[in-house]
């Protein structure tokens, strides 16, 4: 993952509209997209299929509570 990810407080949400034929297809596509971006802990927070595709909000967790957070470093010492 990119070094910038270390600065993500907890998660990255990706909102978009995917052209597809079903909610299942939309979900598969968006999760693949997040994995391709380098996220490992991924899920859809919200997905709605209508007409041409899905309106979707997907999430890749970078830091979950209890982890060792990349942003928790003393400025200048990283």
């Amino acid at each position: 993952m990119s070094q910038v990810f270390a600065q993500v407080l907890d998660a990255v949400d990706l909102e978009t509209f995917l052209i597809c034929d079903s909610e299942e297809e939309g979900k598969r596509l968006i999760l693949k997209m997040l994995r391709d971006f380098g996220f490992t802990d991924v899920d859809t927070v919200f997905i709605q299929f209508e007409g041409p595709g899905v309106r979707v909000r997907a999430r890749g967790y970078v830091h979950k509570p209890g982890d060792r957070y990349g942003w928790l470093k003393i400025k200048g010492e990283e």
């Binding site: 909102e15 802990d41 999430r59």
Partner: protein, 610 residues
Amino acid sequence: MKKKVLLSPIDPVHDIGLKMIKRGLEEAGHEAFLLPPDLKPEEIIQEGIDKQVDIILLSRTLGYGVAELLGKFVDLAEATGLRDRVKIGIGGMAIRPELAAELGFDGGFGPGTTVEEAIAFVEGKKYNPKAHFVKKEKKDMTATYDYTYKHPEIGKLLEQIVDGILEWAKDKSSPGIERAHLREEMIDLRAKDGASQELKKLQEEYASYSDDMIANFYRKGEIISKLRRFTGEEYRAFKDFVQRSRKNLQTPSILQHVEGQPIVWVQYGTGCPFMDIAHIKVSEAWGADGVVHFDPSWAARTEGYMEGFLTHEENGSVITPENLFEIKNALQDSTLWQVRAHRGLNVTETVVLAGLCGADLTKINIAYGSMAAGTDPERLTVDSIEAIKYAAKFNLPYDLPTNEELAGVPAHKAFAGMLISTALGIRLGARPILQPLFAYSPEVMINGRMEDNYVDFNAAKIYALRSIINAPIWPGAPIGFLTQTEDRVQSSVTTGLHAGLAASLGVDAISIASSDEAYSGGPIAAPSRCDTLRSVGEVFRNLGQTRIQSSAKAKSWSDELVLGIEQVLKAVLKKPTFVQALYDGVLGSKEEGAYPGRNGAGTIFTRNMV
């Protein structure tokens, strides 16, 4: 000294900013002339000469050809001699201060410039942005209430019930109460030098009133396997993070647009105090006035608390003295802080820790905690009485959540339970805060009371409570419960609209959810907190002092609620004790979805046996 100021767009379109600045200048005692749009530079300069102004303020919205046009203006001003005696500033969407300086203007004001900043330029003063911010301060929600009963009959019933509760409980204690007393002594001793032997003795006594896994912490230094201690490096970095966040957040946002709009609370409890604090700093920056500490449900079922900086990966953040102290120390001075003590086996000790760690409020409600949150009614009644006494001692107001409604208990029964704990608090010298739900509860779904709108039944609740007692009201928790979905926009809008209703009803505070609160697949993410805080701020701005109007149904439902409350209180008095009324379902039956909790059953003892 009074100045003559010429304001002119150097644009084919008008700039609303200049009109606002004109008004500001006139209010500040200056003379201001606003020219129409689309004048040539020569015409503007001629006006400046004719009117003998001291200052010219131009605005430019369009970016196309801006450098050439403004350069030409400055050249002309110099050629006519105007430049030598008139100060010239330029602002607007197309302007950056660097560009203005490069072209020879005395001041350049980009997007986001305030009227105050323009006035400071006119008056030749250094602009101090902080001078115009209203300082955010903590508010005491209970300050203006005297807790008098407006419904004498209900007041009388409540007083009788309280008499019975206090008589029944007078010689009773529990492991939780004993630990609370010990905790108070332990924290007191920790501040003293050379008290380690005495502290060890108290810790051993504390362990004797605790579950094995807590006792093992004090006797063997073992922590529960799901928890871990922070490393020294993490702790140092955390302190650095807090310090930087404080420095960067010198003026937290204010959500309320007009005086009297409710205080806005958010709830945290990610499982990790450091993550909590990061979320708190985000919430403070986006305008939250208060934060509520959520502890884990497993800890509420456990007798006793550990010590140290502890984190884990489950919902709810572990209560220890160190965790609470660190959270408190990280808060902005203006942020209200509540530590919940409404259910579980550590209710009394939680209030002690809340008080000693500097919390502003706590949360106690016997009926909810025992009927819908798993704690044995007898145990919770005994512990809550002592907790309320501590709340009074530490000057901690407490709110009374009625979330048993979410299990299916009708509002009038939940309110009867809430009012009993309210009356108990008043008797014991504490300051309770009523917390009705603003929710699409099972009761309203079954009875169709929100088929048309989400306004009337929620309004009815407030009208009913106000007709019974003069007490503060803090709808929660969070507002709009069961109206929110995983859809970010829908969730933010419904939260905002419920906040607008709360503002219209003039309540004292609200608790709000994040826009991903309905998502159950993982922890809440910080930007989702920003969503709903922004939404509430926008609705407060939109409404100002106007009001959302409820229909006539709200009044009739309010009357029904009051009648129902009175009947329930009478039914409570027919039982041998208040606790028996809880067991027997008077304040919420099994058929309605309320079950007397079992945690802590059989642990009460009489004081003379201690």
